[in-house]
């Protein structure tokens, strides 16, 4: 019976392997960064000359930030599983790793990707769009909690679509309904962070969402992964 430390070792091994593979090709990093910054330029160029007022800014800019994050993740993350199926390494993984350790390893990888993207994107976004954030602490919390939700939901859906056809479009179709509550809560909280209002009931709900998706992921991943 595998004990906790070997489980942790497995998960870490998966995580390390993901990043090693990633650094070889830098596919996901490039895709996410390129997509994010291209979209950012589009948003900035189109909204900039119009001169977004402060009140409009509070309403519109948080939404755009999360839209950029969502689509960047959809562009770069699913490959984590699709690649395994395509290159045939999936079968080896099925033999070598326990499903929960694999899921957590992949999730940790996705999470670090998303957090890195957020860390890079948010300051640039705020600077380019002249966005004044009243509660940066709350914003950081939202980005962390929301980013986690994005990564967790996307990891599970990526595992599902990896075994289906038309993977690119199917990922967006499947993940969007799952992630929508997350996005709405995150946008709401980001707006509150910008305006400086208290978080209220939304933050616990966001954390509850994260917990739900994590539990669902851990529970369902073995069924998804193993035939």
């Amino acid at each position: 019976m595998r004990n906790a430390s070997s489980w942790a070792a497995e998960a870490t091994a998966v995580f390390v392997k993901e990043w090693r593979c990633e650094f070889r090709t830098r596919y996901a990093l490039n895709t996410l960064a390129l997509f994010a910054f291209t979209t950012l330029v589009v948003v900035s160029v189109s909204l900039g000359p119009l001169g977004v007022s402060a009140s409009q800014g509070t309403a519109v800019l948080p939404v755009m930030l999360w839209v950029i994050l969502l689509f960047s993740v959809a562009a770069g993350l699913p490959r984590a599983f699709v690649q395994e199926e395509e290159t045939g390494t999936a079968m080896a993984l099925r033999l070598a790793a326990t499903p929960s350790a694999l899921f957590c390893g992949k999730l940790a990888y996705g999470l670090t990707l998303v957090l890195a993207l957020e860390a890079l994107l948010t300051p640039v976004y705020a600077a380019m769009m002249n966005l004044q954030v009243a509660s940066p602490g709350l914003l950081a919390a939202v980005l962390a909690a929301g980013g986690y939700g994005l990564a967790a939901g996307s990891t599970l859906v990526a595992a599902i679509i990896a075994q289906a056809r038309s993977k690119g479009t199917l990922f967006s179709v499947l993940s969007f309904p799952v992630l929508l509550p997350l996005l709405l809560l995150s946008v709401e909280l980001t707006r509150l962070a910008v305006a400086g209002s208290p978080a209220g009931v939304a933050l616990p709900q966001l954390l509850l969402y994260d917990a739900s998706v994590t539990v669902a992921g851990l529970m369902l991943f073995p069924a998804v992964w193993n035939p």
Binding site: A164, L174, L180, V215, L220
Partner: protein, 219 residues
């Protein structure tokens, strides 16, 4: 469905239809006779919700009680019907919104929730059509349905509460339970029960058709 039960259901829903127009009073604050549509809109939205839960439950049964094909068939049929009832509920709600607030769509939380539920149904069906192998298809779509079940509470309950709602439910209920006319409640409940029975009847027929079709293609 056995004939006597079916005729009872026919009588029941006929009574609901008649009751919606003649027995129940008009709701206060609504324009003209437009509140009548609620007696159809609410039960159908309710059935769509029931279908969602049912699909989730059958999916759980499929995954953890022996991977029986009949559970997979039941889940898929529930999603199909949930989509149908959901679309009907959305259309009736939208028509009523046009009369009441002069706009077909407002993105108020209840409307948002039903649209996302419809997206879930469509996504589930898209996933099924993208997998060829029967067992893999059943397994993956069951997993997705359970994921939907995990996320559903956030759609249906939490969101409407934190956002301002145009939906009359919060106006009628929040102002005190006494406000709702008991006759309206009776017709609404009766309608919901009738439509739910109808759902399970049609669902049963759909499952049997699929079972026969599966048997034939296996030969």
């Amino acid at each position: 469905m056995k004939n006597p039960l079916a005729w009872l259901l026919w009588l029941w829903i006929s009574a609901v239809i008649v009751g919606a127009f003649f027995y129940a009073p008009l709701a206060q604050g609504f324009i003209g006779e437009s509140s009548r549509i609620l007696f159809f809109h609410v039960p159908m939205a309710w059935v769509s919700f029931v279908a969602f839960i049912a699909a989730g439950v059958w999916s759980l049964l499929y995954l953890y009680r022996g991977r029986q094909p009949r559970h997979d068939r039941a889940a898929a049929a529930a999603v199909e019907l949930g989509l149908l009832f959901g679309v009907l509920a959305t259309v009736t709600g939208s028509l009523w919104a046009r009369i009441m607030w002069n706009a077909y769509w407002n993105w108020d939380p209840r409307q948002t929730s039903i649209v996302v539920a419809l997206l879930f149904y469509a996504a589930y069906l898209a996933l099924r059509s993208a997998v060829e192998d029967d067992n893999t298809r059943a397994r993956l779509s069951a997993a997705y349905a359970v994921l939907g079940l995990a996320v559903a509470p956030f759609l249906f309950f939490i969101m409407p509460r934190i956002m301002f709602s145009l939906h009359p439910q919060s106006v009628i209920n929040a102002q005190g339970k006494v406000e709702v006319e008991s006759r309206m409640v009776q017709v609404l409940l009766a309608g919901s029960a009738g439509f739910t029975a109808l759902f399970f009847w049609v669902h049963n027929l759909r499952c049997r058709i699929q079972a026969l079709s599966d048997r034939k293609s296996a030969l």
